[in-house]
């Protein structure tokens, strides 16, 4: 089977303007959404707070759960159905994390007991994060991401050239902003595992980009006289089949994870899926064209042999 014909020669480089405009628009929407929502919708991992996952034995009206929470002065907590409806599972989330951190989840449990009867539900998960830890985790996450970028910048500069590294990193920043943006537009919760997903996306997207770069490097050596635009375009075309196929297999497994992995891992898989799709797009349309844009702005005096 052959999805991408070997003699394909799509003019990717000629579509730079369109691609940049599309990406710019997506980034703007992402940033706009983040501004409107006042930053990402931080989960308790970062904002601090209490999360309780409850599974009821039979179908339970969300309003009744809500009113039993209101009875203990926790009416402002977020109640959310978790997983499929027939599971009768709810997530109760509140920004509060009482000072000693232990009282809150117990109060929720007691109030549910008195409203629905003891034993009619099961507390499956309790997470309590103090605000201090949340801030630290956020700082650590941002630090890890920036360090990962720097490490890649160094590695690509070493193996290729600095401008390639810049192209690769800008593509990564692009992927991350859009993935975070999608989460913000959908108002999905931004948690610790989402940061893990973002770091994975960084790893995946750069992997994709490097394969293209590698071919550019090879072609530049093979045809030193050829214009860079042409070399880049033919390199993208030559690796297109692989880019599409690998992304396809990864998307396949992510879909399996999304549909069969359960609710706990859903958002994580979703973030990866968005990231892989955006990352594949950016490897083709962003990373290499940036190298070209750089070349046009400041032509390299000597091309490396």
């Amino acid at each position: 089977m052959e999805w991408i014909k070997p003699n394909i020669n799509f003019d990717f480089v000629g579509k730079i303007k369109i691609a940049f405009s599309v990406s710019l628009a997506a980034i703007l929407v992402s940033i706009l959404s983040l501004i409107i929502h006042g930053g990402p919708n931080y989960g308790i991992d970062f904002a601090g707070g209490t999360l309780v996952q409850v599974k009821f034995q039979k179908g339970t009206d969300a309003d009744k759960v809500r009113s039993s929470l209101a009875a203990i002065g926790m009416g402002d907590s977020v109640l959310q159905e978790f997983g499929a409806r027939e599971n009768n599972e709810y997530l109760i989330r509140t920004a509060e994390s009482s000072d000693d951190l232990k009282g809150l989840s117990e109060r929720i449990e007691e109030s549910l007991s008195s409203a629905f009867g003891k034993g009619s539900f099961e507390v499956r998960r309790v997470e309590v994060v103090g605000p201090k830890v949340g801030r630290e985790l956020a700082e650590k996450g941002i630090l890890a991401m920036v360090l990962a970028w720097i490490a890649m910048l160094a590695y690509i500069s070493w193996r290729f050239e600095f401008r390639y590294a810049v192209g690769g990193i800008l593509a990564l920043v692009h992927d991350i902003i859009i993935t975070v943006g999608v989460f913000s537009v959908l108002n999905k919760e931004f948690t610790l595992v989402i940061v893990a997903a973002l770091l994975t996306i960084i790893g995946y997207s750069i992997n994709d980009t490097i394969v293209v770069y590698d071919r550019i490097r090879e072609n530049v050596r093979k045809y030193p006289k050829q214009a860079l635009a042409e070399t880049i375009n033919s390199s993208i075309n030559q690796t297109l089949s692989r880019t599409i196929l690998t992304s396809f297999t990864v998307v396949l497994v992510l879909i399996a994870l999304l549909f069969f992995g359960g609710a706990v891992i859903f958002d994580f898989s979703f973030a990866l899926l968005i990231g892989v799709i955006v990352g594949t797009y950016s490897s083709i349309f962003i990373a290499s064209p940036i190298v070209l844009a750089w070349e046009r702005a400041r032509p390299a005096k000597k091309r490396k042999k």
């Binding site: 117990e106 890890a144 610790l192 090879e218 396949l252 992510l254 399996a256 992995g261």
Partner: protein, 533 residues
């Protein structure tokens, strides 16, 4: 280098067998005894999110720890000075890290310094001034010793918590210090998180103090607390209604005896009412002190205070020798048992605070395992079928590599007793998708070479050679990202970084080395004319 196909096959088989060898104890739960001894005991550990349990991060209040250290220094100093017959007044802790005292005569200063350097290497004179013939000295802890004392408080806390957890009965707990003043606690399979947190988080400072019966409690409640007294809260249980009510006691601030001098603590049931209580026995020193305290204060009330809360304040009816006492009060059997545990394990050097608590119930853990396995199987099948459809027989070869890759990931994890978490399972699934990438790169390259009219053998050689560098470069960057992920992550996320990294490294071996053997076999030995690719 590896021209000999047979040698390469042997290496591949050996690696595969080693992987299986480590993996078998983890995936075959009930090995017959005769086989059990053949294998190592090492297994893949399940993370708390899969087996259920509690993850806690506690913070030791280092300021309080410092205060109590200084308090101890002040008390010891009094005794040392008395032993050397140096006259002094007002030894006390001032602020949270200073001790001040007045030496009655300035001449004793040099002898005081001698005691200091001999017995208190941690302390030094911060300032001193002569006021009305007396010398006022302020002591502080030497700067370089501050960290060590803090460290000691942390280690002692870890030790105490470990003692408590051991007595509570948790299998394979993990209790380790983290950073300057934190403790990471992992308790697999905990059924009653509330109780566990109470047990771990209790300072368990047991103190015996006399009640102040001369001054008025009512006055004190209005804010006029006599000097040398403190107001303490107590709890009373109403026998009939089971309601707990709060009440207050006016106590002498001075602590007569602490739980440090305990020899044991045990739960007993009272004969008369069938209520639980905790029987304690002091060690030799404690028994002597208790004897003296009771004989001096017959008729007065002695409060038993735990972490600042009065449990009971019985009247001392007579002198108590032998060092045995009872803590009665308002608890259930369970509470009494936990109290006995914390008393036996000893008090924490300073209060601890829960910074983070994550509890996963066992049913959710099992759910996650089931769904994780399901998703892995389906993801695996999708990729395997796709590869065969797209690359035909070559796809089949790539699938062998993917299967081997999974064996190697799990085998490596078992060998290092690494922890498998739910994101870790996701990592394996992701690796299945990404591991075929190396083969896709090789196959696409081989197809290109075939198109230029090369023989199968030459095309395979060129395909592998040219793809190798690409695979290496692209995988190194992914590994870099995984490394930072590991550094950043806690628990579950770390598990993800582990499976991802191991998977990427293993895929380099399986996708490049192992598949090449099969291709070379057909190209060299069978001299095939066409490749099914």
């Amino acid at each position: 280098m590896f021209q000999d196909i047979r040698l390469r096959t042997l290496i591949a088989l050996a690696v595969c067998l080693v992987g299986l060898y480590f993996l078998i104890p983890s995936i075959v739960p009930n090995l017959p005894d005769s086989l059990k001894n053949l294998f190592m005991k090492r297994k893949i550990q399940l993370g708390l999110d899969l087996q259920g349990g509690m993850h806690l991060i506690m913070e030791v209040d280092s300021q309080k720890a410092m205060e109590s250290t200084m308090e101890r220094f002040a008390n010891n100093l009094k005794e040392s000075l008395m032993a050397r017959k140096i006259k002094f007044r007002n030894v006390e802790r001032t602020g949270d890290s200073l001790v001040s005292l007045d030496l009655s005569a300035t001449e004793t200063r040099s002898e005081f310094e001698k005691i200091l350097s001999e017995q208190y290497p941690d302390l030094e004179v911060k300032s001193s001034e002569v006021v009305e013939g007396r010398e006022r000295v302020v002591l502080k802890v030497k700067d370089k010793r501050v960290d060590e004392l803090r460290r000691a408080a942390l280690e002692q806390s870890v030790e105490t918590i470990r003692n408590r957890v051991d007595q509570f009965g948790v299998t394979e707990p993990e209790i380790v210090p983290q950073g300057d003043n934190r403790i990471l606690i992992q308790l697999p399979g905990i059924k009653d998180p509330k109780r566990a947190v109470n047990l771990i988080g209790k300072t368990a400072l047991l103190e015996f103090k006399l009640l102040d019966e001369e001054n008025s409690l009512e006055q004190a409640m209005r804010g006029n607390i006599p000097t040398g007294d403190i107001l303490a809260r107590g709890v009373r249980l109403d026998e009939r209604t089971g309601q707990r009510t709060e009440l207050y006691y006016l106590l002498k601030e001075k602590t007569l005896l602490t739980g440090q001098n305990l020899e044991y603590a045990q739960v007993k049931i009272s004969d008369r009412f069938g209520e639980p209580y905790v029987a304690i026995k002091f060690d030799a020193q404690g028994a002597k002190d208790f004897d003296r305290i009771t004989s001096e204060n017959v008729g007065r009330r002695l409060a038993i205070v735990l972490d600042g809360v009065v449990h009971s304040a019985p009247v001392i009816k007579e002198r108590i020798s032998g060092g045995e006492a009872q803590i009665t009060g308002t608890f259930t059997t369970e509470e009494a048992r936990d109290l006995a545990i914390v008393l036996r394990a000893g008090a924490l050097p300073a209060p601890v605070k829960v910074l983070e608590q994550r509890t996963v119930g066992p049913s959710l853990g099992q759910d996650s395992i089931d769904k994780g396995i399901m998703a892995t199987l389906i993801g695996f099948l999708l990729v395997v079928v796709f590869m065969v459809v797209y690359y035909r027989l070559s796809g089949l070869v790539a699938n062998v590599a993917v299967l081997l890759n999974i064996i190697l990931i799990l085998g490596t994890m078992a060998a290092f007793q690494a922890t498998l978490t739910l994101p870790g399972i996701a990592g394996i699934i992701l690796v299945i998708g990404m591991a075929v990438d190396a083969n896709v790169l090789i196959f696409e390259r081989t197809r290109e070479e075939l198109r230029t009219g090369k023989t199968p053998r030459a095309a395979i050689d060129a395909g592998y050679d040219k793809a190798f560098l690409t695979i290496l470069d692209s995988n190194v960057t992914t590994l870099l990202a995984a490394m930072f992920l590991f550094q950043f992550g806690t628990g579950p996320v770390k598990g993800f970084a582990v499976t991802l990294s191991v998977g990427i490294v293993a895929s380099m071996f399986t996708a490049i080395f192992v598949t090449r053997i099969i291709f070379d076999y057909f190209a060299w030995k069978r001299k095939i004319k066409t490749i099914s690719i």
